[in-house]
Amino acid sequence: MPTLMHLYPLTGAALVGLGLYGIVTLRHPLRQLLAVNVVGAGIFLILGGLGRGTASTDPFPQALVITGIVVAVALTAFGAALVVRVAEEERARDDTAAVEATGDSA
């Protein structure tokens, strides 16, 4: 029986689908990282939104969501650093290749 209380968790379900679409179709890893965060936000909305009573909101899922948000930012930060490092390495490889190419022709 759908109720108005389902509005936010349903929004969460939509975010999960949208985010997954982003992960699949976006090719740049930073954009994928952003999409992953959208999925995470959707899951949190489902977790917290289904814990709402008529008068109060269950503090238990709220705490789980806060834990989840912190874990998400930790992983996102590492992922972002990894993306930058990969780009840096590829840039360095391109530069070396360019230097070698000019060296050969000279």
Partner: protein, 485 residues
């Protein structure tokens, strides 16, 4: 006092020390090994079904820690693998000659303890959300270690692992909303075959299959495992993939056995069979040693899933359960031994291809022997632990008339023989390769010890079967359950 929490707390305390000291503090490992060994023995000696809550908070609010057979065996194997891999890594991740430290040398040690503590936390808890946090501890350490080898492969691994974790977390959210608890022992008592439960189980399983690198979701594993430094590869293949596998066991056989359709188990069994065949064929085709060993992991994970339909069937289910669990720890020991041995061999010849190995047995016989011992267990030859596992599974399969599974078990063993014989035979044949690396006793001993353990554990087959049977099917200890609204 209880080993259930200390097995997590001690590695975390060591992680703090490692953050403070970096590779200068790496010799703390020598203190950690006896402590963790003692805690592991204690864990193994605990009476069957020992469990207690954390702090003073009963279920469903609190978190229950429990020593069942799976946890006991996997924690023990993790202790053995981590200790020996750590000893091997002492030389690899050490300060340079002038006392200067590298980022890898610094970061390896905190990540190592994070992985160790996270894996133990995952094996010992019965709480699905707690398992999520443990899973992320392990994944984070694993990706960072993979990045020490290949950044590209690590990035791919990272995205895949993140998607797997999120799928798992989505299931946890649905289960909590549906049952107002995320404790496996409580879920087992109240499980209903409703839509939310089925969707939750489906997305969690999909996420965990990705994390455990089950065919066809294995694509990330070979590049990441093959490129990482040898100790990191060993940790990834031995320990990390087992965490996802154990959560699958918890979900399918503990929380929801009552509502799982046999057809669903058959699907997992099929996936396992495909993984065995595909991984083995790929391993045979590889021309570099570490890629071969990595594809062997894909194949060996397949056996774990192959056993799923055997376990739920009543007849001989104990044997299939034991075979599956023992296979998990046999693979841990053997694969850790194999990656360490492979690392030493490749470093010695300064190459990575199979043909670089020619004549190596004359130069480093002990390392080749370690590789061979690990191969014996992976092929499932007696008297190894791998043999016990495959024998139990085969017996269970034949008893249940599961000819298909039995055939896969035999074919998989033969294919393992093919792909593992190839590198071994190269070390015996041909010209001698010039060897560059100076010998290090500890590093030579490490894979040998793991290989010997993998083979000799076969003699403890009955003991392992007995331990693995220690599943507290009876539900949570009465004292641990509070007022359920």
């Amino acid at each position: 006092m209880s080993p259930l929490d200390l097995l997590v707390a001690v590695p975390l305390a060591l992680m703090i020390a490692a953050v403070l000291l970096g590779s200068r503090g790496r010799l703390l490992l020598l203190a950690a090994i006896p402590v963790m060994a003692g805690l592991t023995v204690w864990l193994l000696l605990l009476p069957e079904g020992t469990a207690h809550i954390v702090g003073d908070w009963n279920l469903p609010l609190g978190i229950l820690l429990r020593a069942d057979g799976v946890a006991q065996l996997l924690v023990a194997a993790t202790s053995a693998c981590a200790s020996i891999i750590g000893l091997y890594a002492l030389r690899e991740f050490a300060p340079g000659p002038s006392g200067s430290e590298t980022a890898h040398g610094y970061a390896f040690w905190p990540l190592f303890y994070l992985l160790w503590g996270g894996a133990n936390a995952g094996f010992l808890t019965t709480d699905l959300f707690n398992l999520y946090v443990a899973l992320e501890m392990v994944s984070l350490a694993a990706v960072a270690m993979a990045a020490m080898g290949s950044l590209r492969a690590a990035l791919q691994y990272f995205v895949v692992a993140l998607v797997g974790s999120l799928a798992y977390l989505l299931g946890v959210a649905l289960l909590f909303a549906n049952y107002a608890t995320v404790d496996i022992t409580l879920l087992a008592g109240t499980a209903r075959p409703d839509l939310a439960t089925k969707v939750a189980l489906a997305v969690m399983t999909a996420g965990l299959l990705i994390k455990a690198a089950v065919f066809p979701l294995h694509g990330w594993l070979p590049p990441a495992h093959a490129a990482a430094p040898a100790p990191a590869s060993a940790l990834l293949s031995a320990i990390v993939v087992k965490v996802g596998f154990v959560i699958l066991l918890r979900l399918w056989f503990e929380a929801f056995p009552a509502i799982v359709a046999p057809a669903a188990l058959d699907v997992l069994g099929w996936l396992g069979a495909l993984a065995v065949l595909y991984g083995s064929i790929q391993a045979i085709r590889q021309e570099t040693l570490k890629a071969l060993v990595a594809y062997s992991t894909v194949a060996q994970i397949g056996y774990l899933l192959l056993a799923f339909p055997l376990v739920v069937t009543a007849a001989g289910s104990d044997r299939a359960w034991a075979g599956m669990t023992i296979h998990a720890i046999a693979h841990m020991l053997a694969k850790a031994a194999m990656f360490l041995a492979a690392g030493l061999m490749l470093k010695a010849v300064n190459g990575h291809r199979l043909e670089d190995l020619s004549g190596l047995v004359r130069v480093m016989p002990l390392t080749v022997a370690a590789f061979g011992l690990a191969a014996i267990s992976l092929m499932g030859l007696p008297p190894s632990a791998g043999f016990i596992a495959k024998f139990l599974l085969l017996e269970a399969a034949l008893e249940q008339g599961a000819v298909f599974q039995a055939a896969i078990l035999l074919v998989g063993g033969l294919m393992a023989a093919v792909y593992l014989f190839n590198p071994l035979s190269r070390t015996f044949a041909g010209r001698d390769t010039p060897v560059t690396e100076a010998k290090d006793t500890l590093q030579t001993a490490a894979p040998l010890a793991l290989g010997l353990l993998a083979v000799s554990l076969g003699f403890a087959g009955q003991a392992m079967v007995d331990i693995s049977a220690g599943v507290s099917q009876a539900g949570p200890p009465a004292a641990a359950v509070g007022e359920v609204p």
